[in-house]
Structure formats: C-alpha cells, structure tokens
C-alpha cells in the first residue's frame, strides 16, 4: 500500500484525508485515489490526464519525473505527497 498525502491548500476546496491505496505506478495509485474521490481528478490532473502544471508530486521525497504519463514507479510503503507548485501573486 502507498500512503498519499495532499497539500493543505487543497483542503479548502476539497477536503481529503491522507489515505492508503495500492499501485505499482503513480498512475495506478492516483486512479485508486480518484476511485474514492472522483472530484479530486480535476484538481490534480488536467483534461488530458497529465499532472496540472502547477501541481507537483513527490514520491519518497523525490519530485516525479513523468508529468505526462505518470509512469514513475512506487513500491509498497512509499509515501506520496501531492503539493501545489509555487506560482501566482
């Protein structure tokens, strides 16, 4: 199982508690998360299924590599942080 934690900034739009889901890739993990929280998909991914430009995901402290395909590997026990990138003013 992979533990997924969401930025506090997301909570004011869509409250999501940290949760544990299965998956071997980032895509699989996120799909498992969206199965529980369907509205969350549009907050994390764009219309074409890529990671939103101003959202970042860290897997065990490392920034993801594949923003389009979300093919980064994860392992059981991994911790995944969905964060907002710094932007705006």
């Amino acid at each position: 199982m992979v533990r997924v934690v969401f930025t506090a900034n997301l909570q004011r739009h869509l409250p999501v508690e940290p949760l544990e889901v299965p998956g071997d890739t980032l895509r699989e993990v996120l799909e498992a998360v969206f199965a529980r929280h369907p509205r969350l998909r549009g907050y994390v991914l764009d219309d074409q299924g890529c990671l939103r430009r101003h959202v970042n995901i860290f897997v065990d402290g490392q920034l993801l590599r594949d923003r389009h395909g979300l093919g980064d590997s994860v392992r059981s026990g991994s911790e995944l942080y969905v964060m907002q990138a710094l932007s705006g003013g």
Partner: protein, 393 residues
C-alpha cells in the same frame, strides 16, 4: 377588506436591484437594500461574499430558476464551476467543462508570417463567458472557454459537452491568443426568440454565428479590420479581435462590438459591420447595449492598445443614442483626475430596464448609475480587481 369582493392584487413592488461582482479575490453579491455595517456607496450594500481570496472569472444569475453560478480560476487546481440555489447562502461544486481526450489547440504564433505554432493538448484554462439558454430552454447553459471552446450544458451544469461544430471547424486552428496564450470565447449571444441562433466572439478569432443550434458555423466579420497585421490580411476573420460583443435583446439583429481596432455595429446579425468613430477614443474592452433600443450603447474608452488607461486620466463612459453617429462622454461622478482604471470586457453591465448601469475596474473601482449613465455614484474604490459585473434580474 369586505367579504365577498374579489381580492385586488397588490401592486407588484419593483424587485430590489442586485448585482454580482466577480473579482480576482472573490465574488460579491451587492443589494440596494442591506445592513448598515455592510454599506458601500451609491445605496449599495454587500449582501454576501463567497470564495474570498479566489479568482472568480465569471458569474451568472439564471432568471429562469434563480440559480447563481460562479466560475473559479484556481491558480493551482484549474477552473471550477460552483452553483447556488439559495441566493448565495450556500454553494456546491458542479461539473466544469472538460475537453475531450485528444483535443488540441494552437499555441501562440511567433508572428503573422511565422509558421503555424504546434498544436498543444487542450485543457480547460478558464471559463471566460457564461450565459443562459433562451427563455424557453430551462436549464440550458452556454460556456465560452480558453482555449477556444464553446460548451453547452442541458442540465444546469451537471454535465457539459463541447460544441464540435465550432471546435472542428477548419478555421478554428487559425485562432490565436489575444491577452492570453490561447484563444478564448468571451461573448455568447443567444437569440431570445430563436435559441438555435447563436453568435459568439473570439479573442482572437473573429465573430461566428450558427443558425442551426450550433451544428454549423460561419464567420461574421465582413466590414471589420485588424490594424495589427499586414494590410492584405487585415480583413481575414481569424485576425479580428472583438474584445466584446453584445446583442440588443429587443432587436437581436442589432449587434455592437468593441474591437481591438475600434467600435463596430451591425444591423443584420453580423453579416456586415460598420466602423464607428468616437472621441475621446475608440479603444477599449467594454460595451453595453440598451435592452430595448438598439441605437443606444455605452463604451468605456482607454487611450490605446499600448496605453490602457483613461484618456487624460479622466474616466468617462461614452454613450450614443443614435446608433453611433454621435457620442457623449459622460463623466459626472466618475474620477476626473489621475484615474487609471481600465474596465474589462465584462466589467460594464446594464439592467433589464436600460436605466441602471454598473461598472467595475481593474483597480477595484465600482460605480453605478440609475439614469442611463448621465451621473454615477462611487460604490467602492477598494474592491479587488474586477473581472465581471452583472445585474441579477
């Protein structure tokens, strides 16, 4: 009241004027009646606020069922749509328009003679316009989006579908970004008596009309000109940058456009446009048309493309009563010294009577008029930058 006599209907009180103000930092619902502690100028009060701190790109009040809609433009998490069925007391998120898998849109070109820019995956960047369907189509909504999409909802925003007639039009690939990286649809006019007749305006991509409920579309830009491309291309539809298009509800063939290059009007549904001269300037973004009189329209002039501030630091509203033959620069009650307010395309609103106007600026100024613009009252000088102002009818 004596028994047996039919009860006389009480005279209907005029509805309390209400105003939606969509800003960079929230949505404000203003009422002409309200608590003293929430009072602003001009007799208006803040009845409610919502989404404080969040950019609200557009708001809509549906007079058919009273629902309010607010489009959020969240910096990190994308554009979202919310609705309220209780006058803004509570809000729920509904569906936002979503581009179908594989949809693409052209990026920004290097210049008029440069090769076409590569196509980029299309994803909702912003809900730029939001309109109700015709009076006889309850629940139907239209949304104009960046990049270049026209979406229809048949069910009050529960679901949306991209209008493929316009999206798949070969000329759509020639649309380019105006103020944003991608082209967008900011004006949607639904013919009040013929819901299948739609007119939209695109920055930058011209004016388009459909008379078969959106199945097929044709450009309607004849008579317009673009001064920012080589002369031989200046009349091409895709280079026209209408900043805003409005339709006279009582006379729907009469359209007005505040274009990047000036003011244009049409009396035949956009088949032919006539350029209008006006002082102090014909540059600007906003236009409003009188709901009953197609010859009366208002504009908010700025110096020029390269200097988007009021001429001479004096904020005026330019009004014509004669179809654009003459204009009066109305200024009573508006700042006349060192005013640098710009009024965006959705920042000038008129109510159903045609008497009451409201105007909000990029520097957070909000003014209202109850006499057709002859005089104005300052509602606030310290709101967040204002994207859109609309009366609730």
């Amino acid at each position: 009241m004596s028994r047996g006599k039919p009860r006389r209907a009480a005279a209907k009180k005029p509805a309390t004027p209400r105003l939606l103000v969509a800003t960079r930092k929230g949505l404000f619902l203003l009422s002409a009646r309200g608590q003293a502690k929430n009072k602003l100028g001009g007799g208006w009060s803040v009845a409610r606020s919502a989404f404080l701190g969040e950019p609200v790109s557009m708001a809509l009040h549906d007079p058919r069922d009273g629902t309010l809609y607010a489009a959020l433009h969240l910096g990190h998490f994308g554009s979202k749509l919310h609705r309220s069925r209780d006058d803004g007391k509570t809000w729920e998120e509904c569906a936002a328009p979503v581009y179908p898998a594989g949809a693409t849109a052209a990026g920004r070109p290097e210049g008029p003679d440069a090769p076409p820019p590569p196509l980029e995956p299309a994803s909702l960047e912003m809900v730029w316009s939001l309109e109700t369907g015709a009076p006889g189509e309850p629940g139907v909504l239209w949304a104009g989006t960046i990049p270049g999409g026209l979406f229809r909802s048949p069910d009050r925003g529960n679901t949306w579908a991209l209008n493929t007639g316009l999206w798949d039009h070969p000329q759509r690939s020639k649309w380019t970004g105006g103020g944003y990286d991608h082209a967008g649809i900011h004006s949607i006019a639904v013919h009040p008596r013929n819901p299948g007749h739609l007119t939209v305006a695109v920055s930058s991509g011209g004016v388009w009309a459909s008379e078969d409920a959106g199945a097929t579309w044709a450009p309607r830009t004849k008579g317009m000109r673009a001064g920012y491309v080589p002369p031989e291309q200046s009349e091409l539809p895709e280079f026209q940058d209408p900043h805003h298009l409005v339709q006279c509800p009582a006379s729907p063939d009469h359209l007005w456009v505040q274009h990047h290059n000036g003011i244009f009007r049409s009396g035949d549904g956009g088949r032919l446009w006539h350029e209008i001269s006006a002082k102090p300037s014909t540059f600007g973004f906003a236009v409003a048309v009188h709901p009953q009189d197609p010859n009366t329209a208002w504009f908010v002039p700025a110096v020029a493309d390269q200097c988007r501030v009021p001429v001479g630091g004096r904020l005026v509203v330019n009004r014509t009563h004669d179809g654009g033959r003459s204009f009066t620069a109305l200024h009573r009650g508006l700042p006349q010294r060192h005013a640098y307010d710009l009024v965006y395309r959705h920042g000038l609103a008129i109510d159903d009577s045609g008497d009451r106007l409201a105007m909000g600026s990029t520097t957070g100024g909000l003014w209202s008029s109850a006499d057709g613009g002859a005089s104005w009252q300052t509602v606030s000088a310290s709101l967040p930058p204002i994207f859109a102002v609309r009366f609730m009818s």
